[in-house]
Amino acid sequence: MGVNVVVCLKQVVDPELPAQEFAVDPHSRRQVRTGKALVISTYDENALEVALQLKDKGAASGVTVLTVAPAAEAKDAVRLALAMGADRAVVVDDPRAPALLGVEKAALLGAALRRMGGADLVLTGCESADWVERVVAPLLAEAIRASCVTFVSRVEAGGGFVTVKRLADDGVHTVEARLPAVISITSDESNRPRLPKIRDIMQAGKKPVETVPAPALGDVPGAMADGVEVREVAIPARTTTCEVLEGEPAEQADALIQRLRALKVV
């Protein structure tokens, strides 16, 4: 027994790439992806880890990963997720995916979930590493009429509920949410993503991967996406230059304090 868990994954250009590799395409008004390393968005991996821990404890009956992406781009992310321990994957093949914002992504994910017969528990990252909208979990919860908690580090499931730790502005909230629930996951020391073993990587290729062309989801309500237009994405001009203060620590400290005093900062 246990709950049926779906983890939503997004692929992004590796956010750790150095700044000089970052460029914006003025036409699409999105980050240039061509030739850049793609990775699973930071917190999505933590979400998968939380799901896998639920499965390890017997609280989850199965873990499915779900992603909306151009199918060819999604292969590495899906393989990694399956190697980490997910049971199966569903890829909604949509060539528009990298440019879609959260409102449209959430609508597609909702349609895909309905097609999959729903889920008891849906986990997402608390934010994507690129657009950081933080909207997919709450919108998806509304779309599938589930309860919702965001910025959660720990999840326990049982008895038709999940009990979660939400990292809040004022500390840690313990929240009880009725299933079905959509929970967004942030990182802490308990959910550091596991590294797959060679054997798991070998066997990942045998796990089922279903690819669904986005049009097969039918008419996805996307009315909310109307009315918000991305006019520009611009890299702010760098206005500061760094003055490097040399010398022994005491000299460096002196030089710094002198400058900070001149600026009336101290």
Partner: protein
Amino acid sequence: MPRILVIANALDGTLARSALELLGGATALAGAGGEGVDALLLAPRPLEDAAAALGRHGAKRVFHAAHPALSTGQTDAALVAAAAAAARAEPEVIVAAADTVGRELAPRLAFRLRAALVTEAMELRMDGGALIARRQVYGGRAMATLAVTKRPAVISVKPRSFDVPEPSAASGTVERLAVEIDAQALGAVVRDVAAETAEVGLEEAQVVVGGGRGIGGADGFTLLQALAEALGGAVGSSRPPADEGWVPISWQIGQTGKTIRPNLYIAVGISGAAQHVAGVSGARTIVAINRDNQAPIFSLAHFGLVGDYRHIVPALTAKIKELKGT
């Protein structure tokens, strides 16, 4: 100019500073002396002082929802009240703080109202009939400009994006908003709140000393605390120390974590990942202390000290103390 509803969070029994910030932003957006700015006050019990404060800071009408279920972290209850207030006030634009509740509430309210949605906005202005929102994207490496033409629109605003306006003698009308909340029907219920005592309010501090992975462990942060103390400031961290459990999560500064705008930010052992930079780019002066002279943080800093923080930070602390004559 648009009729605006500000969602004012007093779910823990005191009015959040962000509510007043939002009124400042909304008043500027509404133009014409802030006509058409309303506020929804969410509180667990009647809070006359908070309602009056909203009026003094720019709300022409205050809709006060008071219900025991409108308590700390209770998004589901807040959502019921917000939907009721939207029906009553008929706003064209609804603004909420992108705080713990607001991050959940804004998208869900937008879905229910079939509204346009922008989250984590940092700047708002009108351009003809379009509401222009600007926000950080790609970990703060770029700014996106979004034009919102649909009404209603729900906008969540990153805390500290607007200044608290000067209070005036004006007062808004206060109207109690009856909300029916069935506590049994709420999907998610807060069972416990373990408040973390933040050190000197990180978000308010004029001087912040931040530590990163380069600090190496919990012990190293004592050196940073000594420096912060000498400067009368607060200590924060980038994501790795919080993830590793070296420091409380409440210390984390960045995209995920707090946004700071101090006069002076001293980044110690912090490489300068976009995730962190997003939270500190509002600092007036940035000092970077790092062993790696190629660390990206130096491209953001005004002053760079290359070397071992274990030697530099105590030297700095000693000099500051000397200067202050203590």
